[in-house]
């Protein structure tokens, strides 16, 4: 695939103990040992209540990345990537049907769709333009970046790519390694000669020479860990090739140049 270059103009993240990218950069958990719940910064108050924990983590990461990049939330396209989407909402619905044998909650059903977070974001941010929600297992971060690069190559000035997966559904993934929830966002912009930020290209193959982040083991199996590795590398102003899938996907790499 031909490499297409963009600029990384802003980053944001949410992980338990690290509620934003600045806290992560300094390795300063705000409340040591205490899990902090995401607040859903980008959402209106009513939509914050509707959003799942993952949705709120997405809202926090998007708000931070967009503020850092200085882009307008009303017009910036948002790509939400998630491998399993709102899986806990789905399990809740299955429990209502099969275990409790109760009537299904229409409110939960409407936010059980994969694009619940992107829909709530567009409503909250009054964004009447493009938004999408995508999935590609461990290649989701690469897919979100490629979707974003496609938008920029065809006329958009800036795009926000946010990737998140909630805690692994233990009952459905009995024999697989457990992972904890995380969300990471990057704002991509067109490259200009004067850009001081990090230049990014995505490659389908190659050798990595930039190490992934030092996230705790409980995050390393999250299919979106690659977005945290990318954010970490951007914060470190790393130069070189970084794997976006921790060796569990199809081998996509990000080439970074500061």
């Amino acid at each position: 695939m031909s490499p297409l270059q963009v600029n990384v103009a802003g980053v944001g993240l949410w992980m338990p103990q690290f509620p934003n990218a600045a806290a992560w950069a300094q390795r300063q958990p705000l409340a040591e040992g205490e899990p902090i719940k995401p607040t859903g910064e980008a959402f209106s108050r009513v939509n914050r209540r509707r959003a799942s924990q993952m949705g709120r983590a997405i809202g926090d990461a998007v708000a931070e990345a967009m503020a850092q990049a200085g882009v307008d939330p009303r017009t910036t396209p948002v790509i939400v990537g998630s491998s399993i989407g709102e899986a806990s909402a789905m399990i809740g619905l299955l429990d209502q049907m099969w275990r409790a044998q109760e009537p299904m909650s229409p409110a939960v059903f409407t936010v059980s769709v994969h694009n619940a977070a992107s829909g709530l974001l567009s409503i909250s941010m009054k964004n009447k333009g493009y938004t999408t929600s995508i999935a590609a297992d461990y290649d989701t971060p690469a897919a979100a970046l490629l979707e974003g690069i496609g938008l920029i190559a065809t006329g958009h000035d800036a795009v926000c790519c946010v990737c998140a997966d909630e805690e692994s559904p233990r009952s459905l993934l009995e024999h697989a390694p457990h992972w904890d929830m995380l969300a990471g966002a990057v704002v991509l912009t067109k490259t200009n000669a004067s850009d001081a930020g990090v230049q990014l290209t995505v490659h389908t193959s190659g050798d990595a020479d930039v190490a992934g982040s030092d996230v705790a083991a409980k995050f390393t199996h999250n299919p979106q860990v690659g977005i945290i590795d990318l954010i970490d590398a951007v914060q470190r102003k790393a130069n070189g090739m970084l794997r976006l899938d921790r060796g569990k996907g199809r081998g996509y790499l990000a080439q970074l140049a500061s």
Partner: protein, 387 residues
Amino acid sequence: MAPLLVTGYSMVSALGLGRRQHLEALAAGRTGLGEHPIDLDFETAAGAVRQPLPELPAELQPWSTRLARMAYALLQELDEPLRRAREKWRPDRVAVLLGTSTAGAETTEVAYKQFVAGGGFPRDYDFQRQHTFGAVLSVVRKLAGVDGPSWMASTACTSSGKTFATAQRLIAAGAIDAAIVGGLDTLCTMTMTGFNSLQALDSKPCRPFREDRSGISIGEGGAFALVERAGDARVLIEGIGETSDAYHISAPHPEGLGAQAAMHEALQRGGRYPTDVDHVNAHGTGTRLNDTAEANAIQCVLGTEVPTVSTKAYTGHTLGAAAAIELAFAACAIEEGWIPPAIGDGAIDPEVAVKIPTERMTGRFERVLSNSFAFGGNNVSLLVAKP
């Protein structure tokens, strides 16, 4: 952006397997809605695929789900154009960009029911190979013999429509040369119960744009299209509009403002005027709110005289697959020179100001607008044209 060249397409729905069976049903005005295999405690008609789906090859059995077997059926119909594309383009330059709403939910809910009953999960159930939104992608890549970028769009009922826009951008950006696009979804208890909880299901086959319409009939199926940078196009996609209502998570904007914006954007990107449109394949779910809002939107953008049909009265609402299936019907209208009658019991709603033909219409259909709208206020409009 240059128009997207559609060099082949395939379809599966309650009307049958493949283009020929679909054309026969559409020409006869014969619905595929009726009884279905899902065990529910309420009445509703649905569009079930009744023909047997092909079994996956032995090496892909761990990935075997109804969704994956549907994908296999769609690829079999696309075999000839795919063979030509593989000769023309490098495998890593052919993308697989699909859409789904339910992904593997049908398999998971059966497994979970057994788990809740105390029997544990079925031995062959595998969440990562059978449930995740990306699970079917590896099956499609292997069966199609392509190795380009691949991901699943999941924006509820616009999912498969988004894939055409992504392919158009990636081709324009020089990132790929061709793509298998489209989408697929299967019937499942959770979806049907969920729409019932919203009081959005009709107990009879759905009746889009009819005065006494009272909701959706859910369907299953899929459609794939091969789109290429260059080649012998059967139809073109001249412009695509992608907008958001920014209004409500599950209800359309009452005046259909987001829908209007999507149609305007499709026309503008295609460099066309409203008078260039010969037919609309409406989203037309059969709910009171959707059909009223969409009819208002079509009237505002195109006026009242463009014949408008919702083919969901034939297939049911196939959710993430709907946009691709209806794109295939738009292509059929252009290639065959006729559009199917709007079917369904009852009189056309007098408040629907657009033209709803209840007889099959023949003529020159050179340009068709196909609409899809979704939860989240997500709208996609595809402008399909004769090459």
